[in-house]
């Protein structure tokens, strides 16, 4: 058996790789070429600057958030002289009233606030507290947003499917990346009944039911259950708007 190193193995097998082209590719290219030409380099610089400015704004936001978190902590430590109020907001209504009343007795300086403690003012106190450290809420929101983008953005996009043979959105392909050793695409109708299933990662849905009949216009849900080459499971889902 001939011995090769890794580079040779990949080089010899993949450097002249040929692959089948999508039947609609030429049609799409021709259509695009007919469109008025946009300065391609212009677009890319614009894109670059927007991503850069996005990054800069993000950094700024994080900086501001971090700064105000610090400020919030400082404020919080100042406010710590009134820990009872902090406790109130976390307790249920009944207990809160009790505690607040006891504050009223033990701390005359808090009288101004104590009579407020009923259902309506409870909210006010909570509001007050959240005002004291608004930055923390900001920071959390930021983090969740970031995660959403990284993990799966297919859920945020509604896929259009218009199977009328005009070459545009005639079939649906889940926006799933990567190679998988196990792959299962399932499509459900609005009632949750399965209408389509495929185990081939290149499978597309042409808007037909399992019976071969065209599915009615509706919003469908797809899930892709896949195992990647390392054996890790992935689940993607999103919706498809089928328009006829």
């Amino acid at each position: 058996m001939e011995e090769q190193n890794l580079e040779q193995l990949f080089q010899s097998n993949l450097s002249d790789l040929e692959s089948g082209v999508h039947p609609d590719a030429w049609k799409n290219i021709k259509k695009e070429l007919k469109n008025p030409e946009l300065p391609a380099s212009g677009i890319s610089t614009i894109r670059d600057t927007t991503t850069i400015s996005k990054r800069v704004t993000l950094k700024l936001i994080i900086l501001i958030a971090a700064f105000s978190v610090g400020l919030g902590i400082m404020l919080n430590s100042l406010v710590k002289k009134q820990p009872v109020i902090n406790a109130i907001s976390k307790e249920s209504n009944g207990q809160a009233t009790l505690k607040a009343q006891s504050t009223e007795i033990s701390k005359p300086s808090r009288i101004e606030q104590a009579p407020l403690v009923n259902n309506a003012s409870q909210k006010q106190i909570i509001n007050k507290e959240s005002e004291q450290k608004p930055s923390q809420t900001n920071a959390f929101a930021l983090r969740t947003k970031e995660k959403k983008i990284n993990v799966d953005n297919s859920t945020t996009k509604i896929n259009m499917l218009t199977p009328n043979g005009d070459g545009e959105s005639d079939y649906f392909k889940p926006p799933v990346e990567g190679s998988y050793k196990e792959y299962e695409l399932t499509i459900y109708d609005a009632k949750g009944h399965e209408v389509f299933k495929a185990k081939d990662s290149s499978a597309t849905w042409d808007g037909k039911l399992n019976t071969g009949q065209p599915a009615p216009a509706d919003v469908y849900t797809y899930t892709v259950n896949a195992k990647d080459l390392t054996g890790k499971g992935h689940l993607y889902q999103g919706s498809i708007a089928l328009i006829r």
């Binding site: 890794l6 097998n13 692959s19 999508h22 080459l229």
Partner: protein, 189 residues
């Protein structure tokens, strides 16, 4: 049309520049399977590769006027295609970090036995499983044969980053190959 099929690449390009639709289709047919092969190496999956191919050909036809008839048309189209692939990957935020994979093992100069059971498709799948940054560096260095310095310029990363990305990509592929070989040994019994 039959008269056109034997036409040389340079002639074909001149006709394309003159906006001859038949010539454009012919140039596309002549090289699109090869170019799809390139896109498949850079993309993480087929739909992404299809987008790259489409964008790449649009760029080819729009910029064909700047082809100087020095060197082969094929090489020129290939360069446009690779650049388009990199641009689209960058747009989709190239990942330079290793995702969910055990810490890179020490790189050795391990020799891989070429096995008949490992097809180009198996290797392609392994390349697909790499994060896009690793994949780009691996393609550019091991398959296209660029130097780390050139890759650094193309991807706007440092030469050192290119080197370290490459060694990690290589280690990851090596692990997969080892796994694959074990699998084939077991199944052969």
């Amino acid at each position: 049309m039959s008269g056109l099929t034997n036409i040389s690449d340079d002639e074909l390009v001149r006709s394309c520049i003159a906006d001859d639709a038949k010539a454009q289709k012919l140039l596309f047919d002549r090289y699109s399977r090869k170019m799809m092969g390139i896109c498949m190496r850079y993309a993480g999956n087929r739909p992404e590769a299809e987008d790259m191919l489409q964008e790449g050909w649009i760029k080819v036809f729009r910029n064909l006027g700047s082809f100087r008839f020095e060197g082969s048309v094929e090489g020129w189209i290939k360069r446009v295609m690779v650049n388009t692939c990199l641009e689209l990957l960058r747009k989709n935020k190239m990942q330079y970090r290793e995702v969910e994979i055990e810490t890179a093992e020490e790189m050795g100069s391990l020799q891989v036995n070429s096995s008949d059971s490992l097809t180009a498709n198996d290797l392609l799948k392994m390349v697909h499983s790499l994060p896009s940054g690793f994949r780009s560096v691996f393609n550019l260095y091991a398959i296209e044969g660029y130097t780390h310095k050139e890759i650094g310029k193309m991807l706007t990363i440092s030469e050192g980053t290119s080197k370290s990305q490459y060694s990690r990509a290589r280690a990851q592929l090596q692990r997969m190959l080892e796994k694959e070989n074990k699998y084939f040994l077991v199944s052969a019994r």
